[in-house]
Symmetry: C2
């Protein structure tokens, strides 16, 4: 065994790098992991370079050249389809945000056009979303009443949209898109389910025809508000709402069973609106407890750039609302863009998408729109309808513009209860039991994150849910670093391979030495833990040996293969462990330290301290070196010699 050790190469310390170069590499890796400018950098001609940059910034230049009539046909069909969904949904969600219904239509006109120029997804359909709408209402409503001060409320909504767009653009430009990743998949599932529950509960207002309602979103306040007004409930409204809800859910069910019939559920909201309006118009139901939308202003988006509020005390409110809703909108939009890109096998650059979202919200806030993103439902309809490029968004925008110019009077009689049904039907799809059960099966911690997001939203506020889930997710990362696994390794019989003896029960430990594997970086947050834990492993092993009267412990091999990095506290810890071991007459041996570790350990003279000969490329080699020493180095204590290493089945 020890003969073989001589063939192994030494553990290498990588050549030192100048500080600035390594800083640049690190920053590159953090910010430009996907190396988006590779093509541009490799191009030598300046004119070509400029063209590439333009194409990078405006993806429309990329795909417009290959555009053809077939594409146009598909895009028109899908554009019209999503417009028919966008109009009723837009009006409904604007209601949810306590904003004038017409804003929902405005928001489906300007932003999709901007996205068509700057966005890189071919399938994303732009529009407002329920959760961000409700969140806007909840956050702005806490300080400014939409009923008492509608003008200020409206202007603050524009300002929040502006800040959301600004933040999104900045995140994208600074390549900080990864910050959005702190919303884990599990957190989003729980958060969405909670938000959907809350939104549905809010719709009871419309469904029951109530005119006063609580501003809080938690389930307790909402239920109290509903049941305290039971004498105000309007059965007419309730029955009408349930009928439409049944219709909408049935069409959803059909479309889900037969994906080819996607257009049934896509058209259902518009059909509901039409039927609902006709019902009210002919039966004069507005006088029998059915609330209606009323007059919508004709004409496309009026400018709103002068309405942005930049004066205290409201600017901080708008800023806060903008940032939180903006991050949420980003998380949804990018996830949607990415998943459809995966189906069709093209790439989406998250940071570039952020800039597109940001620009679309900035321009939106200048033209009477509120926060938009790429909602999942609408994009799925777009995809199913066979869209080819972002032209479908343009077609939708044109259809909405036509509606705005000529058709708004048609919505006069649209009952609010239909809008509530549309929202509820859309929201029920967001409660994803199966995904939550799957989390429980796969990863209890993720389920816990999901659950706390859900409970936080349902019993607290939407923000509490967000903060809870992000906090717990981050705590998990910190726990991983703070409590890295450290386990005993054993030799797998008939091989030279050492593995975790818990995972491989057939692996055997060797007498006279223990091999510990540390599964994570060694940082200040875990160095005391690791020191204590190594001490405990040794104590336990010595106790065991004492009982069985076997050879005493002489070598501690630390397998550092999985230790990605170390900081100065970690180095001190290793030095301390080495000293403690020295005092107990034990020798520390290191196996397979990585590049980063070798660099730091050699700079800190730790390698000199324990001796370069005690650092080995593999565990097997370290064992063979120890074994060699056990056989030869201690002729004065013959009871410690073990001719052949003894295997103790664990």
């Amino acid at each position: 065994m020890c003969k073989r050790a001589l063939h192994y190469p030494q553990v290498e310390t990588p050549p030192p790098q100048p500080f600035l170069k390594s800083l640049k590499n690190t920053l590159n890796e953090i910010l430009f992991a996907d190396d988006p400018f590779r093509k541009i950098r490799n191009e030598s001609k300046t004119s070509k370079k400029i063209e590439l940059v333009l194409r990078h910034v405006f993806p429309i230049l990329e795909w417009a050249r290959g555009y053809n009539l077939n594409y146009l046909k598909s895009d028109v069909i899908s554009g019209i389809t999503i417009a028919s969904l966008a109009i009723p949904q837009g009006i409904s969600y604007a209601q949810l945000a306590n904003l004038p219904p017409i804003l929902g239509l405005y928001s489906s006109f300007v932003p999709p056009m901007v996205y068509a120029i700057m966005g890189s997804s071919k399938d994303l359909a732009v529009g407002t979303v329920a959760v961000a709408s409700l969140l806007t209402a909840a956050m702005l409503g806490k300080e400014v009443s939409a009923v008492e001060n509608p003008k200020l409320y409206l202007h603050l909504a524009f300002t929040a949209t502006f800040f959301a767009g600004l933040m999104q653009t900045c995140l994208g430009l600074l390549r900080l898109g990864f910050l959005v990743e702190i919303l884990s998949h599990a957190a989003i599932i729980g958060f969405m389910a909670g938000a959907a529950t809350v939104v549905c509960l809010q719709q009871l207002k419309g469904l029951l025809g109530l005119s006063h309602f609580t501003h809080s979103t938690d389930v307790v306040s909402v239920l109290r508000s509903i049941f305290s007004q039971s004498h105000m409930w309007r059965w007419e409204s309730g029955i009408l709402g349930c009928c439409f809800l049944f219709f909408l859910l049935t069409t959803k069910y059909i479309s889900k069973k037969r994906p080819k019939l996607f257009w049934i559920s896509a058209m259902a909201p518009l059909v509901s609106v039409i039927f609902g309006s006709l019902f009210v118009y002919f039966l004069h139901a507005q006088f029998h407890g059915i609330q209606i939308i009323g007059e919508l202003k004709k004409g496309i988006n009026p400018p709103s750039i002068t309405h942005l509020v930049f004066t205290s005390p409201y600017v901080t409110l708008a800023l806060k609302t903008g940032i939180i809703t903006g991050v949420l909108a980003l998380a949804e939009g990018i996830a949607v863009g990415r998943s459809f890109a995966m189906y069709k096998n093209y790439n989406i650059d998250g940071n570039k998408e952020m800039i597109a979202f940001g620009m679309m919200n900035i321009f939106g806030s200048f033209s009477s729109c509120y926060l938009t993103t790429g909602p999942f439902s609408r994009s799925a309809v777009n995809y199913n309808a066979g869209c080819k490029t972002a032209v479908s968004n343009v077609v939708m925008a044109v259809a909405v513009a036509v509606t705005l110019l000529f058709l708004t009077p048609l919505f006069f009689y649209t009952p609010l209860v239909v809008l509530s049904s549309i929202i509820i039907a859309a929201m029920l799809g967001l409660v994803d039991y199966e995904a939550a059960m799957n989390l429980w099966k796969l990863d209890k911690f993720d389920f816990f994150v999901c659950l706390s997001a859900f409970l936080g939203v349902v019993f607290g506020t939407i923000e509490i849910g967000l903060i809870l889930s992000v906090g717990i997710s981050v705590l998990r990362l910190l726990l991983f670093v703070g409590r890295p696994k450290i386990y005993l390794m054993g030799k797998i019989q008939n091989t030279e391979i050492y593995r975790n003896i818990e995972q491989y029960p057939q692996a055997t430990t060797l007498s006279g030495l223990i091999i510990l594997h540390i599964d994570g970086p060694i940082y200040f947050a875990n160095s005391s833990y690791l020191r204590d834990r190594i001490g405990r492993w040794i104590d336990e092993e010595e106790e065991k040996l004492r009982k069985s009267e076997e050879n005493s412990l002489q070598y501690i091999i630390l397998d550092l293969s999985a230790v990605g990095n170390i900081d100065t506290s970690g180095i001190s810890m290793l030095e301390e462990v080495n000293k403690i071991l020295g005092r107990r007459d034990l020798k520390l041996v290191i196996a397979n330290p990585g590049a980063e570790l070798m660099k730091k350990l050699s700079k800190s003279k730790f390698i000199e301290t324990i001796g370069k000969d005690w650092i080995h490329l593999t565990v097997a080699e370290a064992v063979s070196a120890c074994d060699h020493m056990l056989q030869t180095a201690k002729p004065d204590s013959p009871e410690k010699i073990s001719g052949v290493p003894e295997f103790n089945n664990v």
Copy 2:
């Protein structure tokens, strides 16, 4: 090669564990990493068990039995030595906290007695510390003036001490001591240096004999305050101060050069106080611009339990101050206890120490003491003076009590400028240039943490420094998880070992496949990054192959040895990567997944998806399996066959 693969055992999925059991194990590992109750648990007799528990709670029962006259002799000598340091330092630090000087003496009486009963360090000397004193002054002083409302200020200081003690006890009882570890070594170096700078600047007040002074601690305000009062400077005070400072620094220098003469620097503060007082007494210097302490009340600690303030609005201020100063005090005390324990080779249980610190502060707050901990300087003197047990603390307490009962009138003429000199001399030792330079050498990031703590304290406030350094340290942990290293592995010639080709330039890549090593857990925070990064490695490799017209890529081996854990986002990422690779006609192969990974991957059916045959115990085996397939499986595309793997030197 492929023949050998057959000998390797399969990668094992560990047996499933009931949820509650695995939860218990996890919590145990987080909270009871050092298994403190091992002995008690192993004991079967109840009476013996109770004895062990008592001994665990009150370590005095452990060591008192072996106590002898020799120990007592040593402890009396060291106790007297630290008392001579404690008295002037106590008075000085109480001044720093804007509290009556007598509190410094009170605080060296009760808390050391409590610690002697409950503490487990043999070398720690209990007392107040400069940084926590200044922080108390800065935090309380922001809302309550010590000059205008001295009574309330004093009571708030007691209350803050009570909360600090309560928090420390709770952290210890709940075994949450690891939370203190978020203060990394680097952060503490920078923080201490900054605090020392700030404290020294504050002493210019005493040194220059100024009576009005700013409440801010940042360097700009302090310098402005000093230079705006240049007409008030008292040269007498300045000269006297400089003389004493010179004397103190000289004694420090001597003691540092010859550690046996430690008593010179230990006695120097008392000597300065005596000489200073005599100087004032005989020269009537108090009438010539030298401020003096004035009258100190005789008698030991009066009770203060009824003075604790639990009414708003002040209770939150006291709570906040208590928590921040308490954490700082803990961090210092535990680090000091641990380092001396290491010299003498005994163990300190951090959580038990926290309870001791907590109890000593709770009892302190009941008896007119403010925040105490185990200061480094005093403990070092204790250690050097040859203390054997915590009895030296008792001796110090008795000496202080005697002083309180009989000797306080002697301090009437003590000049404040001497106290300032004592503080400055003590503080200069806290600025550790060498440690900071060492950080720069070893770990730039740690240096950055240290620097920001320093600058935060010096130019902002002490809290800003603390928050900055903790924030940046935590950011580093998150960055580690968010951007794990992922590198190409190559085969080290004449071995079956695969390693990072950047660390081992002699390692060679193989044709037709690439081996990627992921150096960290796969979590939501890095799954998009890893997906992009894997994609980029493949793109780059394919581009290289296209240029060199070699065999095209067919296998991607992911070495998961260092992937300690995975969450559901990570599993989705792997599934996504597998799909993307499938679409590009590449096969994903997994090498050496750990226990946790195997559990989750098999539950999620990922293993079924890629096929159990494509999961290998080692990279070598995975390569040999791929190689086998390359040789046999594709007879229809002969150009892809490579009889013997070709090595490309990188």
